[in-house]
C-alpha cells in the first residue's frame, strides 16, 4: 500500500522498541508507524533477526520489548571494589601491635591513651593483619596480638623488626607534623633503604 519496504518497517519497529521506556503493544506500534505499515509482520521479522543474539525481542502480556538474553544475565552484575583508608584508630592500633608485639589490649590502650573499641580489633583481625598470639602468663592470662604474614606482605616488610625506630623516624622527618607528603615519603624511603 504505502510502498515502505518491510525492511524499513523493521528498522522503525526496532527504533521505537529500543527507545520506549515501556513495552509497546502492536496497536501502539501500528499507530506510530506510517500509514499502511504492517506492524505485526515487521515485529515478526525483527524477532527473527534477534534470535540467538545478546538481546531478544520478548512478549510481556500483549506488549513487546527488548530484553537481555537470559543466559547473559550474569553480565548484569558488577563487582564494585572500593578502596578505603583505614581509620586513624585502626592504623594506630596496628602500628602498636607491629612495634610492640606480642601486646595485650590493655597495653595498646595504655600507649594510645584511649580505649580500643572491639570493632577496631575485629577489623584488623578480619583483614588478617593481626592475629591472636600466646596468652600472657600474668594474672588474668590476657590474650596478646601479633602481626601476621599477610601484614608483612601488605607492607612489604620481611619482619616486624624491619620497622624503623623512633629515632630513625625523627631523622626521616616523620615526626615533623607538617603536610608535605611527597617530601616525607621520599625521606622515609631513604631511611628504609639505609637500613638494608
Amino acid at each position: 500500500m504505502t510502498g515502505i519496504p518491510i525492511a524499513e518497517q523493521e528498522r522503525m519497529v526496532e527504533a521505537v522498541l529500543f527507545a520506549s521506556a515501556e513495552p509497546v503493544s502492536v496497536a501502539e506500534l501500528a499507530a506510530r508507524l506510517p500509514e499502511g505499515a504492517d506492524a505485526a509482520q515487521a515485529l515478526a521479522n525483527l524477532r527473527k533477526h534477534y534470535e540467538g543474539r545478546g538481546v531478544r525481542l520478548v512478549r510481556v502480556q500483549d506488549r513487546w520489548a527488548f530484553r537481555t538474553a537470559p543466559d547473559l544475565g550474569f553480565l548484569m552484575q558488577r563487582d564494585v571494589v572500593e578502596t578505603r583508608k583505614l581509620s586513624r584508630a585502626g592504623i594506630e592500633t596496628l602500628a602498636i601491635v607491629a612495634y610492640h608485639q606480642p601486646v595485650t589490649r590493655a597495653e595498646i590502650e595504655e600507649i594510645r591513651g584511649v580505649a580500643v573499641s572491639r570493632g577496631t580489633l575485629d577489623q584488623l583481625l578480619e583483614l588478617e593483619w593481626i592475629r591472636l598470639g600466646r596468652r600472657r602468663m600474668t594474672p588474668g592470662r590476657p590474650a596478646t596480638f601479633v602481626v601476621t604474614e599477610q601484614f608483612l606482605d601488605h607492607f612489604g616488610l620481611e619482619s616486624a623488626r624491619d620497622l624503623p625506630g623512633v629515632k630513625e623516624l625523627r631523622e626521616a622527618g616523620l615526626l615533623d607534623n607538617r603536610p608535605a607528603p611527597a617530601m616525607m615519603d621520599s625521606a622515609a624511603d631513604e631511611s628504609q633503604q639505609g637500613e638494608d
Partner: protein
C-alpha cells in the same frame, strides 16, 4: 558620497538598530551587525567606515536620549581614536602598534565572533539526543556487589606510630629550618669561640662559613649572631661597638 557613506536603506536600518539597542549583546555585537551593511568579506572590511557607522549610531542614540551602557561609550571613544589615527599619516616616532594593526585586530575579532556564531548554529542544527536520536528507554538494572578494600601504607603506619610516641613532645608546627640559624645555635657557637676574640674584630668575620651564599641564609645567620652578641654583652662577656648606622659591628672579649 564621501561625507555620507550610508545609503538610505542603511540609514533606515541604523534607525531600527537604535530602537533595538537593548537587543545587542554589547558593542562587538553591534559592530558585527553594522559590518554586514558593507556586504564584503569580513577580512576586507573597512574599519574606518565601520568606525564612522558606529560613531554615527552613538551620536544618533544620544540625540534620541537613549541611555547607552558604558561599554558602548568606551568603544566609541576607542573607535574615534582609531579613526583619527587611520586618517593621519603614520607618525614614525610613535610607540606601540600601528593603527593598521589595531584595525586588523578588530576585523579579526569580528570575524572570530561571526565564526563562533556560525559554529553555534551548525552545532544546534546537528541531530540531538532526545530529539533526533534516542538512548535506550528501558535501562536494565545492574546489580552491584560492593567489596571494600581497606588500605593503609607503611608510611601511614610509621606516621601513626611516630605520632603516638611523641604525643608529649608534639610540635604543632615546625619551620623549615634549612635556611634558619637560631640564636641558640649562634650563642653556643660564639661562646665556644669566646677565647679567640682578641682586639676589636668585625662580627661579620666571625660568621660560620657557607652561610653567605643565599640572601635568606645570610640574613638569618647575621640576625642570629647579632642577637647572640647582644646577649653576651648583656652578660658582660664581650664589648660591642658600632661606628654609625650600617657600619660594621665590632666585638671584643671583655677584659
Amino acid at each position: 558620497m564621501q561625507n555620507d557613506p550610508l545609503s538610505v536603506s542603511d540609514r533606515l536600518a541604523n534607525e531600527s538598530l537604535i530602537v533595538d539597542v537593548e537587543g545587542f549583546e554589547g558593542p562587538l555585537d553591534l559592530l558585527l551587525m553594522l559590518s554586514r551593511t558593507q556586504k564584503v568579506d569580513l577580512r576586507r572590511i573597512s574599519v574606518l567606515q565601520l568606525a564612522e557607522q558606529y560613531l554615527a549610531f552613538v551620536e544618533r542614540a544620544k540625540g534620541l536620549r537613549i541611555e547607552l551602557a558604558a561599554d558602548y561609550l568606551v568603544m566609541a571613544a576607542w573607535l574615534a581614536y582609531l579613526k583619527s589615527r587611520l586618517l593621519l599619516p603614520p607618525d614614525p616616532a610613535e610607540q606601540g602598534p600601528s593603527a593598521e594593526e589595531l584595525a586588523t585586530h578588530l576585523a579579526w575579532q569580528l570575524e572570530r565572533l561571526q565564526a563562533m556564531r556560525e559554529a553555534a548554529a551548525q552545532l544546534m542544527a546537528r541531530d540531538q539526543k532526545g530529539r533526533d536520536f534516542f538512548a535506550r528507554g528501558q535501562e536494565e538494572e545492574v546489580t552491584q556487589h560492593r567489596r571494600t578494600n581497606w588500605s593503609a601504607s607503611l608510611i601511614d603506619l610509621m606516621r601513626a606510630y611516630a605520632r603516638l610516641r611523641t604525643k608529649d613532645e608534639f610540635r604543632p608546627f615546625v619551620m623549615d629550618r634549612q635556611n634558619v640559624f637560631t640564636m641558640e645555635q649562634a650563642l653556643d657557637r660564639m661562646r665556644d669561640m669566646l677565647g679567640f676574640f682578641g682586639e676589636w674584630g668585625d662580627l661579620a668575620d666571625w660568621l660560620p662559613p657557607g652561610w653567605d651564599t643565599h640572601p635568606m641564609r645570610r640574613r638569618s645567620v647575621t640576625a642570629a649572631h647579632f642577637s647572640a652578641v647582644l646577649e653576651m654583652a648583656k652578660r658582660g662577656q664581650i664589648d660591642l661597638r658600632q661606628g654609625g648606622t650600617f657600619a660594621p659591628i665590632l666585638i671584643r672579649r671583655r677584659a
